[in-house]
């Protein structure tokens, strides 16, 4: 059996793999698995390009399809599934006894579990003591979804988020049971303003 026939066999195997991967990508539900399958698809395609004497296209396919696109997808998927809360109260609302057992944490955890989101709480010192930033500006200029702060006069905790987010309606419903928690929303500027 000479070399040429081996290359033909490899090409046919790669073509069948391509179709198999394409079908599995469509049927697959898990996002991370899909990203890995897309990478596999790109690698198989670039192998076929090399077999068909197109090394230039193969290099471009490997660089774009197997490196840049999965890197962008991984970032996008991880950002999409998280709910970022900025803790400006800095007391035992979220953390009590050095653990996440505060009343606010329990509420937010229940809320994010309801929507299958990942709860991500941050207390960035730069953001919390940002003089120029009222809550509305922080919400617009950073990737924070919800801001927790304490109103000393009324003695209640305030949860503030964007009015456009449908999640806030549900959060307001869930917070009705608690007396010392208020939910506020503010309107954002429109698209392209």
């Amino acid at each position: 059996m000479n070399d040429l026939m081996w290359i033909d066999i490899i090409a046919y195997v790669l073509q069948f793999m391509l179709i198999a991967i394409a079908v599995v990508v469509v049927l697959q539900k898990n996002n991370s698995t899909i990203v890995l399958l897309v990478v596999a698809f790109s690698l198989v395609v670039s192998g076929l390009y090399v077999i068909n004497h197109a090394p230039d296209v193969a290099i471009a396919e490997v660089a774009i399809g197997a490196a840049i696109i999965p890197l962008i997808y991984v970032i996008s998927i991880s950002r999409q599934r998280e709910f970022i809360v900025l803790d400006r109260a800095m007391d035992d609302f979220i953390i009590s006894n050095n653990d996440f057992t505060g009343i606010g944490y329990v509420l937010l955890k229940r809320f994010t579990d309801y929507y299958h989101l990942e709860l991500n709480i941050c207390n960035d010192p730069g953001l919390c003591s940002w003089e120029a930033g009222p809550d509305k500006v922080i919400c617009e200029k950073t990737n924070v979804d919800l801001i927790v702060s304490r109103d000393e006069e009324k003695g209640v905790y305030q949860l503030k988020g964007k009015e456009s987010s449908l999640l806030m309606t549900k959060l307001a419903q869930m917070a009705e049971d608690y007396d010392d928690i208020e939910v506020h929303t503010f309107t954002e500027r429109g698209f392209g303003e």
Binding site: E118, L127, N143
Partner: protein, 230 residues
Amino acid sequence: MSRKIILVAALGILFVMFFLSMEEMEDLFKNDAKLYFFEHGLDDTGSSNLITAILLDYRLFDSLFEAGILLVAVFGVIWISRHDFEERNAHFMLDKYKTPELFVTLSRFVFPLLLMLGFFIILNGHLTPGGGFQGGAVVATAILLLYYINLERKTDISLIVAVVKFAYLGIVLTASISLITRGEIFTNFMAVDAPTMSKYIYIIALDILIGINVALCLWAIFTAFLKEGR
């Protein structure tokens, strides 16, 4: 379930059509353009890699608009994500998406090699497979790995866009020099009867500019996606 069966059947039909069309592709291998490029490509452009010769000399007009489309895509992504103000990401107390240690260590090792491979592909566009676009994409991949090593990394997206604009202007101007030297726009600026060895100066210059353009465009798009989480 029936939708899945229809889907698989449709893919099967596509597969059969693909194999049927393979028979007719034989005709494509008998065209004269290929023979012409094979015969005159090296003398006309000074590039042994005939793909680069076609992209940067014979069909430069197409390549200019390809680079332009990438630039327009960057403007679109930035316009949609509105990054005209000072950007910052919050510092996470609970980072559930921390990059695995193995990936970070491996990235630190791979980063210089990848950068070197990218520059090699750009600078040897006239000799080996690849060129400005491919090398630029590899360099962009190397730069993107830095974001996984250090997630806190800050980038000034407006500076990138400013440099990209000048790189694109450089491509158009380099391609237009031939209007003065040869009286013909969008081709090699060296004289027609110049030695082959000196003609590839033009190819290298254009490859470097296209490499800068592509690498920075992909970097800007990635940064816009990274900052987009609101």
